[in-house]
């Protein structure tokens, strides 16, 4: 496969310039380019430049507001609400992050409700800054129906990822980010692009028959991880990122969406807690290190996010290799 070598600065410029050409102002373009660059930096290609086509499509179709000015509201003593003004999620998140951190440090726990946003990025990148600020954080968001409720035949839930982060003494937090489907839709898209088959048990085709063909799964449905348990968690995400914050469930988001190839309008729920305010004021950081030591002392066991950190070190040094086809597609845009 022929590839193009790019530094991370070049990734950022490529993304930002493409977005501004399609109607984003500098601030919105910069916010989105940042999450795309961070995804490429960490080897998370499914959420990197590969998504540019989708971002651009939503700007072209006029669905997303490229000049969004999110409005932050302290809606309850421990709840911050950000109206994303119909823009991309990273912009709303930038507006809400510090208010969330301040609110958590004041109350011990706080929630951030992001509404009227278009979410197309990875959650780990949103959790990491909160954990780096010394907070325990959890985030989830829904999308459009892609996952079948356990026992059923028709997709109803989004892939509904849940991400969680915990601060570490090194300053590099432990962060996991996992779809409640067996695999994330981004991984299926990547397999379709690269011509790989998926494992069995990942999804079904449009008629509900098991298949390993990524294209057939993209037209069909994914299965929840761990059967009814993953399905329950997917329902929980619908309720947190939709029902709780007054935003759409996946099936509602799909109904309203123009299917331009980009994300639908939806919401996101983020939770932040200050462990120093729960009782173990001095010792909690050292205490949690004893758990991480126990986890990693077993051969074959890694902490969540370890692979991303390895990729990060390498890519910060060497830059990234982008498939020529993806690069050409972005230049065309």
């Amino acid at each position: 496969m022929s590839t193009v070598q790019l530094t991370l600065d070049e990734v950022h410029s490529l993304a930002a310039e493409t977005l501004t050409r399609h109607g984003c102002d500098d601030e919105n373009a910069g916010a989105v380019a940042r999450v795309i660059t961070d995804a490429e930096r960490d080897g998370c290609h499914s959420h990197g430049l590969m998504r540019m086509a989708g971002y651009v499509a939503t700007l072209k179709s006029g669905k997303v507001n490229g000049k969004a000015r999110p409005k932050v509201e302290q809606i309850a003593p421990a709840v911050v609400r950000v109206d994303g003004d119909g823009g991309f999620a990273p912009m709303a998140l930038l507006a809400g992050r510090q208010p969330l951190i301040d609110c958590a440090r004041k109350n011990g726990i706080a929630a951030l409700a992001l509404v009227d946003i278009y979410h197309f990025a990875a959650l780990w990148a949103e959790i990491e800054p909160l954990a780096e600020a010394g907070l325990c954080a959890l985030a989830c968001t829904s999308y459009k129906p892609a996952v079948i409720p356990a026992g059923g035949k028709k997709a109803l839930y989004g892939t509904n990822p849940i991400a969680f982060g915990w601060p570490r003494k090194s300053g590099e937090p432990v962060v996991f980010d996992q779809a409640t489907s067996v695999v994330a839709r981004g991984e299926v898209m990547l397999a379709a692009r690269e011509g790989h088959q998926m494992a069995e048990g990942v999804g079904v085709d449009a008629d509900g028959n098991p298949t390993t063909d990524p294209n057939a799964i993209l037209e069909g449905s994914l299965l929840a991880f761990g059967g009814h348990k993953g399905s329950s968690l997917a329902m929980m995400v619908e309720l947190l990122a939709g029902g709780l914050i007054g935003e759409s469930f996946s099936f509602e988001a799909a109904k309203r969406d123009n299917n331009d190839g980009g994300p639908p309008q939806g919401g996101e729920f983020i939770l932040a807690m200050d462990p120093g305010m729960f009782g173990d004021r001095e010792g909690w950081l050292d205490h949690s290190e004893t758990l991480f030591e126990k986890i990693t002392e077993q051969e074959g066991v890694r902490l969540p996010g370890d692979r991303r950190r390895t990729n990060r070190e390498r890519n910060l040094r060497d830059g990234i290799s982008l498939p020529q086809s993806v690069y050409d597609k972005i230049l065309q845009l």
Copy 2:
């Protein structure tokens, strides 16, 4: 199998009297008897009278304080902390529930940190009253190592259940409660008692070899549900119910435990949120009903907790059938 027929009042008296004979005062005995009765009422036998032997063992060994007087502290504006005084969890929970509800209604979101408790009950019964009070709630607790971190060989995590509840217009909330292991330890104990085999992929024996023998699994380890995803969630529960609130991780609880057959000392984390304070002040309850309709309109799909509700209706009317062996064992106690 020969059985004894008991009304739910008889279940409660049997549990309460047995506990008071072994050193519980009326209040502590009543709190524990309540959760045991609720478990039997809902057909959740693994957390019902079957657990009496364990409760009694911890009183006999002097590990648990049967006369606990939990202390409630508003440790941060949105965090309530209850020191359980070394007693059974239901007593601490009774003390902390209303303060948690009040705190969530004041701040939009609130957390309850339960420490120095002995937790041996099902989480759904703790979530249900919060959801009945109109709150969205989440709870989790750890135990002693029983589950292997994904990729490893040695149990490190407890079965670490996560429970979640959401209010419904009917007044009967949707509640799920699921171990982060493929099956709960209680189910393995039940299979061992009843002589059933477990499914493949549930657990391994003491040497780390796959087995379907429940007794071998009880001596060995369980696997996390959904591979590394369930394993990440199990880690999250260790951090929430241990690291965050200044209580023990499962491996620490085990180290300190006297292995009398009852629960180890540990903690529990509970989250409560008032959906009316997140933005959709009037419509959230109706809105979530549209999701539940979509879920249940598919043939073969049930809402979490449906089976418990069916059991409840029947058992409230007919009482329960207890295996003679379990009944005899309790009478011996």
